[in-house]
Symmetry: C3
Subunit: 472 residues, 3 copies
């Protein structure tokens, strides 16, 4: 496979201005060989725990599990059934080569999007495809990829080594037995660590909450019939996760509202949840209270606390009923941090044992609330641009709106936050390039010295993520 | 009239970086001759229906009807009376040459604004004025323009042909008899189409609501004494508009709140409106319900639905009382789409017969709500940057904040949304230039191939608007 | 002290694109010698009133009073005690050379921040330090600065002359006797003017409200036992401030909510405040009403009204209890202008005797609300980017989001809003550079003529601030 012009420009993400571009290359060259630190993501640990695991067909690797791909195709009229997504009650396409062809015919939809950039990078740098995917070469490329994916050197484990990943944190339910991590550790893969994510039991409106609680009961080996027992369960599970290598927790909620309920109030809400008779406001009050409790536990056990806020999950009820969650139908919400975090920060904001990393998709809060909070409280770090904003422009907005107030050292560097294992190097590549180009812009504008630029590039590419998540 | 340096730079809107600028020119050259598609605007069809129509004096063309011009002059202390705006009760300036002189003396206020750019383009490219307007040459330029405007080749019809407008959609009240469109169609001008805009009757707080309803009654030839009849009236009028060539409807509201009222609730509110005794919240509830009804009708008759949300009309009560609406005193509001559109999208968001184009002036919702919604729902397209944001920076923000998530193919291309007929080419010119410069930036940054750039330029300049409004 | 490369780039804040950069230099050269107009700030007039006043140690000058510096160091774990901040009850570091060393060791935190840029400028241009501060040279630089600061030519008065400040407005409590200004005026320093800031008495939840009221009583020489007397007191004090050279007032509040209470309502709230029994909402209602009253008084006495809105003061209660206000723990809030200012603008928005300058830190309101309001009402001007946004990117966002709608002539130019006297030239330098670079961008993009660029540069650097505050 040969073409004249590379599919993937060596200058990608860099300013066309020659002096800035040259400097961006220099910064990038100085950090591009650093290992990848992946402190927050959603890779299935089973992929790595089982040496015989394979990615399946190109369609199983690139299309079916990727909600960014699904949503864009769906938005232009491609039914999810035609993409092989399992439905509750109807047949779905099973010919993966045909799905791939359909995808290739619509690949133009991803022009200028991060998904398009990642995919080009993966095809080029992971699989050696050196032509742009289109409807004519789709079948040929499919066959080529299918051949490679069957080879041991394209197994998840082999790629894990090739990707130079120094540490990879997974995200795991509070009730998870972490068997995959255990077996990986026994094999020496201690750099794969769990993260404690209790959303399924602490958000009282989570789908299947009662079943999730039952799983939590199983994990601690006793019944959870009161709020007090529930909190004990969380504490026990955190201790277990920590023993299994976790350094952090994570929680998602529609809003970063925090509040401190009395024990009686918390017990009353929990009791109503158990009998399935929640009052209006119970969900928000309980989640807001658990944020406080999780902060308290972080002070006690030293796990870094993460908050991901501001998404309305499953916005499309018909799609959710038919195909379930994570099909690209989650839509961000506007949020407010200054007032909502006030109770939590009043209690724990100055505590040297506490660390909180916050993520949101309301970019209007970057310069107004997030950077000022991180630029004052010793306990707060800012997570990188999240989800829809994990893109060239999204990162540039983040740098330009956050860094003047918070400085880079109040951020947590980068994390890829992905379940698409093969996209990890591509995502870090974009971050590192955009960061280096931003720094080159600061230097060419006389705002930062060249020497400082090299230090900052390394911090953004590597050091900050490690130290933020206590991985050093 | 000769000057050395052109008033209008051939490089306008393009980056000074030479490589990007060259490519922007190439993209622009490839699309600049494409016809103009104008699927949403406010040109008075009478201007075109009457072959003898003229624009009047330069002041009547450029100043008196342009609320962008009026608001800026008013904001710096120029009374609207001095600009010839009719008042309810007092004399107003009638010497148009004097008004033009006053305008020229204040023309520096428009430095760096879109109004300034449009006006320079119109003077140069429509009228051949090749010097910058100022207080010294104002009278001379006035006389020159006055001479031209009397000529048949500067009649609205002549300019319509010269402007290479492929289709022009007007905006018309629900009760409009569309006589102008009818006579235009009979003359062969079938490319001039109406748009169904029922704001005056569906927004129960619209000025003169009762009179507007009376007109609607006349248009259907019977009394509207109930909500049920009202809905029938809307359906009948939509059918009439569709027969007269309409492909779309439009609605404006302070908020995109949608809700489904029961028939009894809707009847009760409508009954209160008829007797002029609305309860608090009635207006918002009724408009929110009508949004749902308009979506249902769109599913049935195939008209594209448009929503323009987030403006407080007539913010300045003293000005409104004296001079009426549309004098530059409408101020945008913050809005929310994710929760507000949820009811409507839950009902119609996946319906293949439905199409919804949304517009807002709360740019914080571009990346947070609008692009994610359009990047998921097959029914949603994003309208171009609207009103105050129909500008070089406004468009760049739109491209940078929308396209990574929604891609360009979930947008409706450009529309000029103007009542200033003569400004139409200038407005499309700015859009096409900014789009080409943005694409050149993507190519020089290695994010899009040059070949893709040409395709995207054509789509943004022409194809997307046609297909979004079902004009192809 | 000699190094090869200057610490402060002569190209700082300018685009690396050569044509734009050259033009930016030309614009900057044309305005850099203009005097500084400082119509809003917080310099202590005692510094200037007393010819023998000195700045103290380098630590007293640069660190202890600067809440930008304090918050960043605190955010990375440096205790305020170690920085010499007085606490209510515990010892604090008193060795200023040691504090300076600690600061230098953490100076990398300010990379790319406005504080870092200002400090480099001050060290270079005010004190002639020509090397970058670091942990190794910290002691040497401290000694050097300490030596200079003892010299008469580095007294506040000497620097005032050297800085070429044409006018400097201070900010003073309503009860202030303005003795410093009086003595300055007697010495001929009439360019130092007070500003009337009644927050401490009109915001009923201001710390020490009762004591503040007592001071106000003293200043007018009689008791304030009713709302009516309170309003009279404000009027009397405004008259006194005006006599002492004030041309403006200023008010800060969490929100720009305005409302008109009846006399009875206002009296009732004031009576509750006097007995310390406020109802929920009283504070916001009263402040909102006083905004209206202050506007009325501005119409009567011609003082320019300023509103600074959208900050939650003292967000960190533990820090506040220990160290008091203004230690970097104020966090911005989202705000709304369109609805909140509606009552005030309905009453005074068209009044030729009224002028209102508004400031906020919610940048999402720049293009959505602030620019449209200023681009319509003849009474509104926009203040420059404030507080956290007084930075290179903050200014660029302001220019790009405000100017297309409001034009530059509806803004109030620049003010430094600082209590750090020595940083004044550095802050104006950043504004002037960013403005010139922005204008050079407009010219090189063909949006503004070069000649217009020179006019606009002068307006932004000098004229607008003078005329906005009636200082011409």
């Amino acid at each position: 496979m040969l073409t004249k012009k590379p599919v993937l420009s060596p200058d990608r993400c860099f300013s066309p201005e020659p002096v800035q571009r040259r400097l961006a290359h220099q910064f990038f060259d100085s950090i591009s060989a650093l290992p990848l630190v992946c402190p927050h993501g959603h890779v299935d640990p089973a992929l790595l725990a089982n040496p015989a695991a394979r990615f399946g067909s190109p369609t199983e690797l690139f299309i079916i599990p990727d909600h960014y791909i699904l949503r864009m195709l769906y938005s232009r009229g491609v039914p999810l059934e035609a993409l092989g997504i399992p439905t509750r009650d109807a047949p779905t396409e099973t010919d993966h080569r045909k799905i791939w062809q359909l995808f290739a015919e619509h690949f133009y939809l991803f022009q200028g999007t991060p998904s398009g950039l990642w995919l080009k990078d993966e095809l080029t740098n992971v699989f050696g495809v050196d032509e742009a995917l289109n409807s004519r070469n789709a079948g040929r490329i499919y066959d080529y990829l299918e051949g490679l994916l069957a080879l041991p050197k394209f197994s998840p484990r082999a790629l894990f080594k090739r990707f130079n990943i120094e540490v990879l944190c997974t995200t795991d339910a509070a009730s998870d037995n972490l068997e995959n991590q255990r077996s990986l550790h026994e094999e020496g893969f201690t750099q794969i660590r769990p993260t404690f994510r209790p959303d399924a039991v602490v958000n009282l409106d989570a789908p299947g909450w009662r079943e999730n609680l039952t799983k939590l009961e199983s994990s601690i080996g006793r019944e959870i019939s009161s709020y007090a027992t529930f909190v004990q369960a969380l504490e026990e599970r955190r201790a277990f996760f920590k023993k299994m290598g976790a350094t952090a927790t994570d929680q998602g909620a529609a809003t970063p509202y925090t509040t401190s309920l009395s024990d009686q109030e918390a017990e009353a809400i929990f009791a109503r949840a158990l009998i399935g008779k929640l009052n209006p406001g119970d969900v928000e009050q309980f989640t807001g209270h658990i944020f406080m409790e999780m902060a308290r536990m972080s002070v006690e056990d030293g796990l870094v606390m993460q908050m991901h806020c501001g998404v309305m999950r499953n916005h499309n009820p018909a799609l959710f009923e038919r195909f379930g969650s994570d099909k690209g139908a989650d839509i961000p919400l506007n949020i407010e941090w200054t007032r909502n975090l006030h109770p939590l920060l009043s209690s724990y904001g100055n505590n040297q044992r506490f660390r909180l990393i916050i993520f949101g998709m309301d970019e209007s809060t970057y310069s107004r609330e997030m950077a000022p909070l991180a630029g004052h409280y010793p306990t707060i770090l800012l997570g990188p641009p999240w989800w829809f904003h994990d893109s060239v422009n999204g990162m540039e907005r983040y740098f330009n709106q956050v860094m003047e107030t918070a400085g880079i050292y109040n951020t947590a560097g980068f994390n890829d936050d992905t379940r698409a294992f093969v996209s990890i190097p591509a995502r870090h590549n974009v971050w590192r390039r955009v960061a280096c180009n931003w720094l080159a812009g600061l230097v060419t504008r006389g705002l930062v010295d060249e020497e400082e630029g090299y230090d900052m590039a390394r911090a953004l590419a590597y050091d900050l993520a490690k130290s933020a998540y206590k991985l050093d």
